[in-house]
Amino acid sequence: MNLQSDEPIVRFENVGLRYGLGPEVLQDVNFSLQPSSFHFLIGESGAGKSSLLKLIYLAFKPSRGMISLFGRDIAMTPREDLPALRRKVGVVFQEFRLLNHLSTFDNVALPLRVAGTKESEVRKHVEELLAWVGLKDHMQARPPTLSGGQQQRVSIARAIIGRPRLLLADEPTGNVDDDMGFRLMHLFEELNRLGTSVVIATHNMHLVERLGHRQLRLENGHLNVREAVKPAQSTPSPAVSQKVKETAADRAPQTHPTPASVKKPIEDDFKGSAETFGDPASLENFL
């Protein structure tokens, strides 16, 4: 990964956002995200978490202030250069936003095709990634026929297929129970260890406290940064593979503290995928 520069991936300076003539939903937002960082974006429902994410993934223009993405001032960037920036940002949308008329395969392939990747390459990468998220048997299924958890994995796969430098996830644990939530978090942490910066918007404080990481807190439209409660994982080292495996192994029991009766439906959801979903080896093969 070419993240050798210390230049922030995202930088907000005095950013304000209002919808129409309404009050500012975001006021004087200042922060920057370093390469390979991991952040939680927290705040009550309606605090502007989604709005802030939308500013980062270039769905909106700020009403005021400066946003720079990968070192480029968005306001000064010609419109035709924006798609290239968007391709470096993977987004797991809150409501997934999968295209229902396309198969799982085509949904995940979308970012590659949009970027003009050769079809043979597309096939190779998408099949690998779908195997990794445990959806190999559902490649031709349409999203409406998948369960919520499966759709979520499709949407994550679509977000990371283009090897983004920044991954944004809006309430990825909103519709799943804690156990699934932790699995997803481990997935995001693994991506982060391999160099991707991650921002996860959530109001699940249980998760946030358990995992530590830096917090971006939104309150009344203002953003405060709170440092990690416990030291975040160090940057990847040559020995990372081994370490990651250990970590994953350590965590495995922790993530299943619930009684078997509760665990059952989750296991169903992950049928055939439990061994690959959290397996960093296959993740590394992919990346």
Binding site: Y57, L58, A59, F60, K61, R79, E80, L82, P83, A84, L85, R86, R87, V91, R97, L99, H101, L102, D106, L110, P111, R113, V114, A115, R158, G162
Partner: protein, 296 residues
């Protein structure tokens, strides 16, 4: 199976109801366009032929009297004046034999021309490019000769050519309207498509699709629908003009010289569906690009 230029589409455009009626509309428009264009090309030919064939000629007519000798004298005077007119290239008295031939369709075989009070006619051809003031010529002749008149065919020719030009203009207008209607229809269907697929388009946009990528899906679709409709319209239109041409040819080509399309005209007619499909494609593309330009 992936047909050469249908390719893969990320938007379910083929399932939209409006994409089923677009080929029909285009078929009708191409049908009308084929008729209008064929009519225009044929009339252009006819007008050119008539105009070319009749202008540059005039006829001088000397009304007959009881006295053949007087008629001879008047003819002699007339020819002298014509010979002295510099714009005239050539003149020829129409003799009895030719007169008989001209009258035959109406009067049948005439035994004795002298019994009929026929005027004497002189066929005059002007030097090419020269313009002759026919009234001045008529005045000069009238000073020396009684009962002479000059007919330069302009009255009926002008009316005829004007009529043809008008019909031609109407045909051109129809072609223009068809083009406008095609553009309007495609703009409308494309906007509907954009509205229906707004969510998918937004996802493509946020995923990093260039506007041209999204517009390409719409324009490809419009091209295919346009070709489909266009070929169908052509299939309807060609037999129609062919049968009109056939009926016209049965009229001995007397009033309607060459109601027939030339080979190069057939090419023009054949290009129509491609042209309409092309208009549909470009319109769809422009519509999508304009709409997307409003997104960040």
């Amino acid at each position: 199976m992936k047909f050469l230029f249908i390719g893969r589409s990320d938007l379910a455009l083929d399932r939209d109801a409006h994409s089923r009626f677009l080929p029909w509309l285009i078929a009708f428009m191409v049908f009308l366009a084929v008729l209008a264009l064929a009519g225009m090309l044929i009339l252009k030919e006819v007008a050119a032929r008539w105009d070319h064939g009749v202008s540059g000629t005039l006829s001088v007519q000397i009304s007959p009297t009881e006295d053949p000798t007087n008629d001879e004298v008047r003819m002699g005077e007339t020819l002298k004046i014509l010979a002295a007119t510099p714009e005239i290239e050539r003149y020829e008295v129409i003799d009895d034999a030719r007169m008989k031939g001209l009258l035959k369709p109406w009067l049948g075989d005439i035994e004795d021309m002298a019994e009929l009070p026929l005027p004497q006619l002189v066929d005059v051809e002007l030097k090419s490019g020269e313009h002759l003031d026919t009234t001045a010529l008529e005045d000069r002749l009238a000073q020396k000769v009684d009962g002479v008149s000059v007919d330069d065919h302009q009255v009926w020719l002008e009316r005829l050519v004007n009529l043809i030009r008008t019909v031609q203009g109407v045909a051109t207008l129809i072609l223009l309207f068809i083009a406008f209607a095609t553009v309007g229809t495609v703009v409308f269907t494309t906007r509907t498509g954009l509205a229906i697929h707004r969510e998918a388009i937004e996802v493509l946009h946020l995923i990093g699709a260039q506007d041209t990528y999204i517009a390409g899906q719409f324009s490809k679709r419009a091209l295919m629908l346009g070709l489909k409709g266009g070929v169908f319209g052509l299939v309807l239109g060609v037999p129609t003009i062919a049968s009109v041409g056939y009926l016209a040819r049965r009229m001995d080509g007397f009033l309607l010289p060459s109601m027939q399309l030339q080979p190069e005209h057939w090419i023009g007619v054949g290009i129509l569906p491609l042209l309409v499909a092309g208009i549909a494609m470009v319109t769809a593309r422009a519509t999508v690009m304009r709409t997307l330009a409003r997104m960040l």
